[in-house]
Symmetry: C2
Subunit: 220 residues, 2 copies
DNA sequence: ATACATTTTTAGACTTGTCTAAATTTCATT
DNA sequence: AATGAAATTTAGACAAGTCTAAAAATGTAT
């Protein structure tokens, strides 16, 4: 059975919304995410339920079935692989990438995505730090975390950022915290959750606002 | 104004069909190409006419307006650029490529296609010998021709084929006429339009059936 | 010029995804 | 437990694209 773009987008957003709470995803939350009306969401949910892609009881929200989940994860895989391609090979900037990937993720060809994956060298994370599931739908082990939450004492590397304002980018540049920069996390101050890192033999203080927007990776 | 996938496919096929005759494209021809019914074609043509993308008089067939033509040529550009990418960078085989390109051609992002074009090195022809228009919609000078029609005496190179049966492919392989093979056209026999070529110091006869399915290129 | 076949258009219906407005259910407060 | 607010579903409508069956136009062959 094959899905329309619309159905795929619904499934993907149900998946993403359901990550942040045990209960089913609410009609309104979904409507807001998809920039559509609650009544439209109800209609679509019924269609997805008829196809056994979601479980649905009136007024109780939706959850994905195994089948629906596999499709959702597959869309995420495609989205992130395309983003890697656009950024690393076509020279796109961080922000331009998402909208195009939003369309490319719906191109349906297993061959295509497998070969793209190979071409890209089987990346495990996209440039925003998002983990890329393999073709079985399995996500890589989470060896990656926001600097915000990293264990003190770790050697780490800047893998991505979650804030893309010019202000933030130039700030990072000034500090020397560019993509790929390596440093040690020396200390975290409970008072304001600011951190102290050592980068190229310099000691630097970072506010919580900065730390929470930097993705870092660590080994093992 | 933005077009749906469907509208874009109609425009593209009107363009291709109108290349082979002066008159407008007939409803039935279009229906057959698009694997749909004549009545559906009539409906869509009226929609396109309302958008000023085609000129249409009842029972007289359609032709593209300047606007419609630009859109059609743009789709062809995208289709062929994607085919180059799939073949040269993802390792697709000649036949697998088309169906995927049929979907990719509808991804709408000028940035994307300009960067893809650059990434590919601004190719002028796709691997089937199809010329790739530039972003203004201008096709490259036709320096490429079927062996069928090549001027006797030319040095040429195999650039593509227009027949993809196993039988034909193995035949070519046996003759040494693979993609990129270089040879001279020595003679053409009017009797049956067969040709004589010289390839790697060997003289080979090719029937018209073979010659008409080989694209060759020549300089200046 | 007439008759028949082919092509094209129209009429009416269906599916997908959306919307507004109204009805229903659930939830929070008293 | 009652009530009002918020969330959700239903009812009915619409646009896009398609289809079948029937009507109209065009082309062809005597
Ligand atoms: Mn994205
Ligand atoms: Mn999408
Ligand atoms: Mn093609
Ligand atoms: Mn297409």
């Amino acid at each position: 059975m094959s899905q329309s773009f619309t159905e795929e987008n619904y499934l993907k957003h149900i998946y993403k919304l359901s990550k942040r709470s045990e209960k089913g995803v609410s009609t309104n939350a979904l409507a807001e995410r998809l920039e559509t009306k609650a009544s439209s969401v109800t209609d679509m949910i019924k269609k997805l339920a008829a196809k056994k892609l979601v479980d649905y009881k009136k007024y109780q929200g939706v959850t994905l079935t195994k089948k629906g989940q596999k499709i959702a994860v597959d869309i995420i895989r495609k989205h992130r692989l395309w983003e890697v391609f656009l950024l690393e090979h076509l020279g796109f900037g961080g922000e331009e990438v998402h909208d195009v990937a939003e369309e490319l993720e719906h191109i349906n060809s297993e061959t295509l995505i497998d070969r793209l994956d190979k071409f890209l060298g089987h990346p495990k994370y996209d440039p925003h730090g998002g983990p890329i599931p393999n073709s079985e739908g399995v996500f890589p082990e989470p060896k990656r975390v926001k600097l915000d939450e990293l264990e003190v004492g770790r050697k780490t590397k800047v893998m991505g950022i979650t804030e893309h304002s010019d202000a933030f980018l130039t700030h990072l540049k000034k500090l020397g915290l560019e993509l790929g920069a390596e440093f040690d996390l020396k200390e975290r101050f409970d008072f304001d959750r600011s951190v102290e890192i050592e980068l190229n033999d310099k000691t630097i203080q970072l506010s919580h606002d900065v730390a929470k927007n930097i993705f870092v990776s660590y080994n093992s």
